[in-house]
Amino acid sequence: MTAAWINLAYLLSAALFILGLIGMTRPRTAVRGNLMGSIGMLIAIVVTLFEQRVLSYGMIAAGLAVGAGIGGWLAVRVKVEQMPEMVALFNGFGGAASFLVAGAEFSASAFPTLDQSIATSLSGLIGAVTLSGSLVAFGKLAGLNVMNSLKPLPMQNAVNGLVAVGVVALAVFMVLNPQHVALYWLIVLVALALGYFLTISIGGADMPVVIALLNSYSGLAAAATGFVLQNNVLIIAGSLVGASGLILTKVMCDAMNRSLPAVLFGTLGPTGDTKSADEVYTTVKATSAEEVAMLLDVARRVMIVPGYGMAVAQAQHAVRDLMHALMDQGIDVQFGIHPVAGRMPGHMNVLLAEADIPYDLLKEMDETNSAMEQTDVCLVIGANDTVNPDARTNPKSPIAGMPIINVDKAKTCVVIKRSLSPGFAGIPNPLFAAENTLMLFADGKEAVLDILTAVKEG
């Protein structure tokens, strides 16, 4: 096959990637979109096998089989609850593949041009940051024990700054001395350290931002590798993914009213002006599953607002059963989803969809808030900072200005939570002590099942 035919086939692949993403703009066409993307990938792989530089097929067959085997096995085995860490892991593999390819090309070509050297250094830098950053994110999301022993250094931000300057200096040095292949691997090593340092201090509720950002990096690394190989399909696919990750990063940051540097380098926690938990929690009213069932019995509109706690308790199936029981009584049930609820963009939606809850019942924040005043009972399951009215009313709060779901404006708000312990922001939540709030202290799943039993008996 001639180079022209191969490039035409790559163009077809790129077009299929774009059509695939267009398919993703609606749930109804999304499956087909994903299929188109995978066909684009298949075409790209098959025509590359006809490349004149591909001379031996033994290693290729082995590599294709091993990789497809591992990927397929992981994808079949993973539970929906483990999706965030799985996405992080695959993301890291993509970054690693990009810097390995750039490294292979760099060590094979005797005289790289200036632009290829620059692209190679960028691919090594971004790809390596993607790999180590994604592995740290994977460890944190999977709750690996080893992560507990890995702590940020004192003056972590200063260290990060030094390492970042160091790796950029190395990259410049490599571009000026492209005959020294070892410099490339030095860049990769330092960038691996940088990716580790940047993500090790980020936790909990900031995870969605980091995952989205790493997603973007994996695309940019592929695009940089495209410049190294002068291959347009890599450049197009890589920049599509880069743009996608950047948009998600922005959406996540906006949903927390924090800037990207504030997430990456800042700290979030109680300030001097923050009231203590004892001051806030003077009038907390505890309730029982039976009492909640009685409230639901006379309700007409119910809004369920899930948070990361629902994912931890794996309560989504119990929530679905409760939803059906309520709907059978003619009650209008909807779900209010905060954009950063959970540990990755869209986390709650995937969990609820997996439990066969129709996606048209899942409402975005604005729609949820405009329906809140007509809501009789709002059930908050394992959410905390995303429903803290302090963000709206207290300008001195560390989360002031963050858009929240106004669950306090429902007629009655029931909060299912194991204790009054603070969320990621580390601040007390006046919602729990509000006049129209009832606290149901229990594990999310058990509490929902208890309510379900009481509803069915009532």
């Binding site: 109804r28 993307g37 995978s38 091993v66």
Partner: protein
């Protein structure tokens, strides 16, 4: 030249000249693709953000193309070995990524 002191050895590397036209074409494609991506992806509803991430992640496994070329080299070299490693990782990313995305999206189908 002020950067002379950074150059380790001048002798063998009068680096090959940059092919400006090819580079410009590549940069054009890069910038336009980012615009296209931005336009499409801002229209994707939040409910599909997780499948979008895993699906776009699978697309970034396009590096597999470069890995195939490196792993398919005739002689066994360090570059060929790197290509093999890259091929395994990229294929894991591609197959796993498209597959989990399909699993998730299948749950979002409207049930009539």
């Amino acid at each position: 030249m002020p950067v002379d002191f950074l150059i380790l050895s001048q002798s063998e590397t009068a680096a090959a000249a940059v092919d400006v036209e090819t580079l410009l074409a590549s940069i054009t494609i890069f910038v336009l693709a980012i615009f296209v991506g931005w336009q499409i992806i801002t229209k994707i509803p939040p409910t599909l953000h997780t499948p979008l991430m895993s699906g776009s992640n699978a697309i970034s496994g396009i590096t597999v193309v470069g890995a195939l070329i490196a792993a398919g080299a005739g002689a066994f070299t360090f570059a060929k070995f790197l290509g093999f490693l890259a091929l395994v990782l990229a294929m894991t990313n591609v197959v796993g990524g498209f597959f989990v995305t399909h699993r998730m999206l299948a749950k979002f189908r409207r049930r009539d």
